[in-house]
Assembly symmetry: C2
């Protein structure tokens, strides 16, 4: 399948990255994946309350842009789970910078995103 | 004027920060401010082509959330320019992480956002 041609108005890496990331829901799904969540149901259960149709759309976009891959479920053969690709996992510093700003500048926030190494 | 009460569904600093930042246009205006742009016209001239009404709205939100402040223009007394507050400037690592991901993962992108220290 030919890759969809990008409508690029700018060569700015910030603008181009934001075009890939889309809206905040995409970044929240990436956050969940970094936190170890991997199933559609787990993403739905996040406190922000993503709607089913938005989640379906954002997962499709994430897979389409090579940030996420599907993996056959080890629990149910008719299901699959989601996992970040290397390209997706490379967004960790972006999420960490967003987390750090929130912790420093928005009272009452508490960190949930931890890099995998820190969870061991 | 009483501050608008936040409708917070989550204490996650990533989610709360994304609520403050809103969509990609907000981050592109912050990028422009970090690059030294400061007037409405300069933001309009960025290659992404932000619409006038969206720019007006995002600047109002940025001022309202304390990320940007207005400063009387030294050129025209009936105009003002925009400047990041300390709270807004603290988003630099977020923009840098987004830029770095783009440079590494999106072919053809070229950096425009440079930290102020590197511009001297």
């Amino acid at each position: 399948m030919p890759r969809k041609r990008q409508q690029r108005r700018s060569v700015c890496p910030v603008a181009c990255t934001l075009d890939v990331l889309g809206d905040k829901w995409t970044l929240l799904v990436i956050r969940d994946l970094l936190c170890g969540r991997s199933t559609f149901q787990e993403f739905l259960e996040s406190p922000e309350g993503i709607a089913t149709n938005i989640l379906t759309d954002r997962l499709e976009r994430l897979v389409g842009s090579g940030l996420v891959q599907t993996v056959p479920s080890t629990v149910r053969s008719d299901r699959h789970t989601y996992r970040l690709t290397d390209r997706g996992r490379a967004l960790t510093p972006v999420l960490e910078a967003i987390r750090d700003w929130g912790l420093a500048h928005i009272p009452g926030t508490r960190a949930r995103l931890k890099p995998p190494a820190a969870e061991a």
